[in-house]
């Protein structure tokens, strides 16, 4: 038996899906988190009898006429895959809007069971819904549900109603199926009638004690948190607090224990190997595998704390307000207000962020958003941020916070450039977003989110990062004649000879050494590799000592080993954050852009942007700190001017295109 979960965006479909299947799919307290269908078997404990039920969670939709590509996933599924029953998740706090879609579902002839979700929120506001009358009027079962609690959540009753509904004929409460969809006037008239019908039902079944037009404390909070100007310093303060807690206080406290375990493992294996084992093999196992992977895994507690806090912010409804604050800036640069959602999702991982661009209807805006989303520092980049802010800067929190804001700034600059290149500088966009109500965040959900990211991080460390570090260690150990590289002659290794040409290009950025070039290149496989490769090439077992953020073994400070000035370190950090993302994210860009010109243009754009930002940071920073420009200023300036020249050329072409569109002569 197949059951489809359908409803408006942010009605709680995925939360209900997770509750009835036991899965831990990503949920978010805003519209547009789910963009693909997800399947799972409903828990046996909820089913009376032996029926096997497959639940399919579908992206949210406001109507059966799809307006965006994720909505078409929903309508296509129902039309092509014939589910046995539809569970229509209705947001009980917003009945009048939700029932428009419900009336359309009832016309499909497939049995519908309504899950009247978020019933607990209604009770808090003393809003009563007469479930029996609603069920009679819609001619389908209605069950009150609360997906976020374990007991008395109505889920057993819901599944029982689903089993009973199978095979029954579904009557349409409102019949608008006969409308000629090609006739706009007829469709509009039918929609108007449908709204009237819904309004009548709502007036019959709903009894509100608090009028929706009355100002509440939520509205007051919104006026401050979502304020056009005030919202930005508040967001900066919130992010600073998140980084302070995760990377200065709580994170390192737990990291200390983990690093101790990794050290213990390293020492234990070293003792087992003894003197009898070849130094090459011992080095691959100890420095390449345990040291390299350990250096990355050491940052796990910092990342877990950070994602726990971000999950709390998302769940309480704050991140949706950030989207509203950003909208006023984004629409001025030709982006959709919806673009902020993929970008915030991208702070976790760029891939789902890029996939979330499907919610954007306009093709140019969608492609631009997919291209710019990787500028937001994702979870994989956090170990790199944590390493550099810890090793080179005393106050770790401002470095991480500023990376987010520089990312946002680059997105705005990038969007300004792209809107001119594409010749759509006169395009205007409008963003309507339903703000979820503020609520106390679910600790359980934040813990699940944190653990799911930790699991993913460990899997990546144990697979891709382990393999990369092993290969890097081997390439560093041997030269092209497959002879072991002598001590002091590391420049003759395979790794050094491959990375050195790249290193030349990086001299104007302040980090033109092969070790750093190699780490940046392996970062394209997975960004955590930057940390792992640095650990391998500099022979550092782990980077974290919570007291001084210095090497645990040996007295040498990590910053001395890497040999960068603070300014060059900041430039290197930015280069790794703002050049193209990992290959998997580039694959996601390819899938969403569906255009090779956009894809390659996007990669070149990201590379140019990362190089330029890094160059400016290093050269201006060096000028300010030492009174003179850094090394290779002139060649770097020529390279950056060449990049700017290409961008200006394409912007002029776009300008011609835009003027032609406006009917002006040039």
């Amino acid at each position: 038996m197949k059951v489809a979960l359908m409803g408006n965006p942010n009605s709680g479909k995925t939360t209900l899906f997770n509750a009835i299947t036991g899965k831990t799919e990503h949920v978010g307290n805003w519209a547009g988190v789910t963009v693909e269908k997800k399947e799972g078997r409903i828990k046996k404990s909820l089913i009376k009898g032996n029926t096997e039920i497959l639940a399919v969670d579908l992206p949210g939709a406001y109507s059966m006429s799809p307006f965006s590509s994720e909505e078409s996933v929903t309508s296509d599924f129902v039309k092509n895959e014939n589910p046995d029953v539809i569970i229509n998740i209705v947001d009980a706090t917003n009945l009048s809007r939700s029932l428009f879609f419900t009336t359309q579902l009832l016309e499909l002839g497939i049995p519908v069971v309504i899950a009247l979700n978020k019933s607990d929120l209604n009770k808090k506001k003393a809003t009563m819904i007469n479930v029996e009358v609603l069920s009679k009027r819609l001619q389908c079962p209605v069950v009150e549900t609360i997906s976020t609690v374990r007991s008395k959540n109505g889920l057993e009753e819901l599944i029982s109603a689903v089993v009973n509904a199978k095979g029954k004929e579904q009557q349409a409460a409102f019949d608008g199926a006969a409308v000629n969809l090609a006739d706009k006037t007829e469709v509009e008239a039918s929609d108007k009638k449908r709204f009237e019908f819904v309004k009548t039902i709502v007036s019959e079944v709903e009894n509100r004690k608090v009028s929706s037009s009355k100002q509440t404390s939520q509205d007051v909070a919104d006026r401050i948190l979502a304020h056009k100007w005030l919202g930005i310093p508040i967001f900066a303060a919130v992010m600073w607090a998140v980084f302070s807690i995760s990377q200065t206080y709580v994170g390192p406290f737990f990291a200390d224990t983990l690093v101790g375990w990794i050290d213990g493992l390293y020492g234990w294996v070293e003792g087992l190997l003894g003197e009898g084992v070849s130094p090459v093999l011992s080095s691959i196992l100890l420095d390449g595998i345990i040291g390299g992977v350990g250096a990355v895994v050491g940052f796990l507690p910092l990342i877990m704390v950070l994602f726990f806090l971000l999950a709390l912010l998302e769940d309480c409804g704050y991140m949706a307000r950030v989207a509203v604050v950003m909208d006023s800036f984004f629409k001025k640069v030709g982006l959709s207000g919806k673009s902020i959602i993929p970008m915030i999702i991208g702070t976790g991982c760029a891939i789902p962020g890029i996939m979330a661009t499907r919610t954007i209807k306009n093709e140019r805006q969608r492609r631009t958003t997919a291209m710019l989303t990787p500028f937001m520092p994702c979870g994989a980049k956090l170990p790199v941020i944590a390493l550099f802010s810890g090793v080179f800067f005393n106050d770790a929190a401002w470095v991480g916070t500023s990376m987010y804001f520089i990312g946002i700034l680059l997105i705005i600059i990038g969007a300004l450039i792209l809107v001119r290149i594409t010749g759509e500088k006169n395009a205007r966009s409008f963003f309507i977003m339903e703000l979820p109500e503020y609520k106390f965040p679910s600790i359980k959900r934040a813990v699940i989110e944190m653990l799911s990211r930790a699991k993913a991080f460990i899997i990546k460390a144990g697979t891709i990062i382990l393999l990369c570090n092993t290969v890097v260690q081997i390439m560093q150990t041997f030269d092209w004649k497959l002879q072991v590289v002598a001590e002091g002659a590391e420049n003759t290794s395979i790794l050094a000879s491959i990375a050195s040409p790249f290193a030349i290009l990086l001299i104007p950025l302040g980090f033109g050494v092969w070790q750093l070039a190699a780490a940046a290149v392996t970062g394209f496989i997975a960004k955590e590799n930057v940390v792992g490769t640095l650990a391998v090439v500099y022979g550092i077992t782990n980077f974290i000592d919570t007291e001084e953020l210095a090497l645990i073994e040996g007295a040498t400070n990590v910053s001395d080993v890497i040999g960068l000035t603070s300014v060059a370190a900041l430039a290197y950090l930015m280069f790794n954050l703002f050049t193209p993302p990992c290959f998997a994210a580039i694959g996601a860009m390819n899938a969403e852009m569906e255009n090779k010109k956009w894809l390659w243009g996007g990669i070149a754009f990201q590379l140019g942007m990362g190089y330029t930002v890094s160059f400016i940071t290093y050269q201006i920073g060096t000028l300010l700190t030492t009174g003179a420009f850094g090394t290779a200023f002139l060649p770097g300036l020529i390279a950056v001017c060449a990049i700017a020249g290409v961008v200006v050329y394409f912007m002029r072409l776009g300008n011609v295109k835009a003027n032609k569109k406006m009917g002006l002569s040039v």
Binding site: A427, G587, A591, E594
Partner: protein
């Protein structure tokens, strides 16, 4: 003998890592070890061309 054991251990660790990547790829994962970016279609399951608009 010690060297052979260490080689076997390294090979075993590397083989497990490769096997995990292959299994995940066969399951359709786009990215190994990416939270919520894993098991999904390699291409978008929707049809963008149906929704193209220039507005």
């Amino acid at each position: 003998m010690g060297n052979i054991i260490v080689i076997l251990i390294i090979l075993a660790i590397v083989a497990v890592a490769i096997a995990k990547i292959v299994i995940e790829k066969r399951k359709g994962a786009k990215c190994i070890g990416c939270p919520h970016g894993g098991a999904s279609n390699s291409r978008c399951s929707c049809n963008h061309s149906d929704n193209k608009s220039k507005g």
